[in-house]
């Protein structure tokens, strides 16, 4: 089962490699990983999308907590979070397909951010499933290049998670 885990880490030298090597060294999967500084200068927040059964997820959580630079680990497995991902997508857009691409972009409330006579570059934001869906529609039209950020997640409700 896929899980989205938020990890609050000290902005220390090598912290990303510690987390990454934990996953590779123990044979855990990473579907995506994002990391950037938070409001608190000393901290960064990672969002890791991973998969495994309950026992593996429990180990992932515990092993992350065991790293000295990790302050908090939050597993958003129960739908308690809002997830967003951005994709930059370069598609073939010539003659008859130009209008079709525009229609899809419109339906998904995405944006065209670069145009050439032969292509559109699209910025799409949303739940990772939404990104999958727009890609499924664009793929037959000719996908030239794709960059996804990986998911970021934030808990629902009024309560904030420091950092």
């Amino acid at each position: 089962m896929q899980h989205t885990i938020s990890v609050l880490v000290e902005n220390e030298f090598g912290v990303l490699s510690r987390v990454a090597s934990l996953f590779s060294g123990r044979g855990f999967n990473i579907d995506s990983l994002t990391v950037a500084p938070t409001n608190d200068e000393g901290l960064s927040r990672m969002t890791i999308v991973t998969r495994g059964d309950d026992q593996i997820l429990e180990q992932i959580n515990k092993q992350l907590n065991k790293l000295i630079d990790v302050l908090k680990v939050l597993d958003f497995s129960d739908g308690s979070a809002i997830e967003r991902e951005m994709a930059l997508i370069k598609v073939t857009a010539e003659d008859e397909s130009r209008a079709e691409v525009l229609r899809i972009v419109d339906i998904f409330r995405a944006k065209i951010i670069d145009v050439t006579p032969k292509s559109y570059t699209i910025e799409a934001t949303g739940n990772p499933l939404k990104i999958d869906a727009i890609l499924d529609l664009l793929r037959p039209l000719g996908l030239k290049e794709l960059v996804r950020t990986g998911a970021v997640a934030i808990g629902r409700g009024a309560k904030g998670w420091k950092g």
């Binding site: 000290e10 065991k66 302050l71």
Partner: protein
């Protein structure tokens, strides 16, 4: 006071109570060595190989409970420490390893003797630091020692670039240390302890399964008190040996692959396993699917990741084992009547265990013509001091020692359990002897492993460390040979050490004493003679070449499927 980074490093060691450092000089630590030249508060021992220096720091830490310190130069010096670091990591030994590093402007440039030692050791250290500013030396050292010795202990590496060693700043040692992201949970939850105690009273076939955590947590006394109060039989892992007196009637000795028949039978038939500071290693559990099929499991460990890693657990208690055991003793003291009833109810279980002990005691067939290794171990036990420290290497002799030495005190067995590092015994004994010059320190080795760090003979002689080195020589890499005999149709591929070594001459070459015998009748005489010597001694016993370690649970088999006969 203003001083350079190198001097600050030494002052920090002093502040942490370090009296001995095992180190090897080189280009990027030459400034530290220059400061050390006039720094008399710290004793420096120069091994003949950085790997041995790291094992010595490890042996020092295991024997004393203090943090062991090793020092090495950058590049090859640093990479030579890796086996020692990994050995310590697998057995949770508190250590600080300081490595020199090329000057910060050169890092990443493939400079001479540059290696990314932080990257190389990331999976086998508890944590690591690269010092990038001389102002950080003191706080990083404080953190390094704090992290190494607290929680589940482990090795911490500090990478120290040469330019930082030279840079100057004011030396202020922080009084306290606060790491907001590192707060080990030391206190076992009282409710969980209560529940555990209730589960114990409900059980009729309980076993205490005890690991190295009890030794590391200095909780042997509490464990012994609790086990005796409740009359619960105790089996220990290799790392747990010594945490409960081996000669106590409740002792089942070691369990697992080369554990006793009765320990493994007790685990298999138990209805409650109380795991304390142990981690259900594959050498202990055998085939997981059939491990302790009737037992509920209570797991006490300071490291949450150890719990439910390999086996299901009915009641986890995260905390310092000493704290949890003390709380359990209090529970027992509060419920005296119930405890008396409980102890009486265990009689059938104790009888069953006694039956297993009688059926298949640990034994071997002695001989009057050829030396049996188990006989040497028993003689060593008989003739050595009660508080003697035994360091083993890895292999058959290690298992024979675990089976037949009967350890009664914690921190008297130093052995590489998790990593299984050949070459560990001699340097670890060296570290222990440096810590305890007045105690008897013996290393029991095979002829294979002892040659992996034999160069340390020089260090022993030079530093007047009177380690007694026992070599059980079968001219084989015996443990692998045993597997080849049992599982590979006696195809002894590359396990015969064909060239016989004259260990007496070798001892002589280093300026030490050497004795050798192949006669069972001479074993006692040789040991007595060696123990009388003031300096290091090699005792070589030419043993029965194809003696096997028995009993044995073959890899992947269940604990109750033991090979019992040689």
């Amino acid at each position: 006071m203003r001083m350079n980074g190198a001097r600050i490093m030494l002052e920090c060691l002093k502040k942490e109570g370090v009296d001995t450092v095992f180190g090897y000089p080189g280009g990027t630590v030459i400034n530290i060595y220059d400061e050390l030249f006039s720094f008399k508060e710290i004793r420096h021992i120069l091994p003949r190989h950085e790997q041995a220096g790291t094992h010595a720091a490890d042996g020092y830490a295991r024997a004393t409970g203090k943090v062991g310190v090793a020092l090495a130069t950058s590049g090859p010096g640093a990479t030579n420490t890796v086996t020692g670091i990994a050995t310590a990591y697998m057995d949770s030994i508190p250590m600080v390893i300081i490595t020199g590093q090329v000057p910060t402007p050169l890092i990443g440039n493939d400079a001479f003797q540059e290696v990314d030692i932080i990257g190389i050791t990331r999976p086998c250290t508890k944590h690591s630091f690269l010092i990038r500013d001389v102002k950080d030396v003191a706080s990083i050292m404080k953190k390094a020692f704090f992290i190494a010795r607290t929680g589940r202990p482990g090795p911490v590496l500090v990478d120290f670039p040469k330019d930082i060693q030279v840079a100057q700043t004011e030396f202020v040692y922080p009084e306290t240390v606060e790491i907001r992201s590192y707060k080990p949970n030391l206190e076992g939850h009282p409710r969980q302890v209560e529940k555990a105690f209730k589960m114990i009273l409900e059980s009729r076939r309980p076993v205490l399964y005890v690991g190295g955590g009890v030794v590391l947590g200095d909780a042997a006394e509490q464990l012994t008190v609790l086990a005796r109060k409740l009359s619960v039989p105790v089996t220990t892992t290799l790392m747990g040996l010594g945490s409960f007196p081996g000669d106590d009637s409740l002792s089942l000795g070691m369990l697992g692959m080369h554990g006793s028949y009765y320990a493994n039978m007790a685990m298999t038939h138990s209805d409650l396993i109380i795991a304390v500071g142990s981690r259900f290693d594959d050498r202990v559990t055998g085939k997981l699917a059939t491990f302790a099929p009737h037992a509920r499991i209570i797991h006490v460990d300071i490291d949450p990741t150890s719990i439910k890693k390999n086996v299901r657990v009915d009641l986890p208690i995260v905390g310092d084992v000493k704290d949890v055991l003390t709380k359990m003793i209090k529970q027992a003291d509060k419920a005296k009547e119930k405890v008396t009833e409980f102890v009486a109810s265990l009689n059938p279980w104790q009888e069953e265990i006694t039956g297993w002990k009688m059926k298949h005691p640990l034994s071997y067939k002695n001989s009057s013509t050829i030396i049996k290794p188990q006989f040497v171990i028993q003689k060593l036990r008989e003739l050595s001091d009660d508080d003697a420290i035994i360091a083993t290497d890895v292999g058959q002799h290690q298992m024979w020692t675990a089976q037949f030495f009967q350890f009664n005190r914690p921190r008297t067995l130093l052995t590489s359990g998790g990593l299984g590092t050949m070459g560990y015994g001699l340097p670890a004994a060296m570290g222990a002897q440096a810590a305890f010059p007045g105690r008897q320190v013996i290393t029991i080795c095979g002829d294979g492993g002892v040659q992996m760090n034999i160069q340390e003979m020089a260090t022993l002689v030079q530093n007047k460390l009177p380690v007694k080195i026992v070599i059980l020589n079968n001219n084989f890499l015996g443990m692998v040979r045993q597997w080849q005999e049992l599982f590979f149709d006696k195809r002894y591929s590359q396990t015969c050490m064909e060239l016989p070594i004259d260990f007496v001459k070798l001892a002589d070459a280093y300026g030490a004493k050497g004795f050798s015998t192949s006669k069972p009748g001479d074993v006692e005489k040789v040991i007595k003679q060696a123990f009388k010597e003031n300096g290091p001694v090699i005792m070589e016993f030419k043993i029965a070449r194809e003696e096997k370690v028995i009993p044995m649970v073959p890899a992947g088999a269940s604990l109750n499927e033991m090979v019992l006969n040689a």
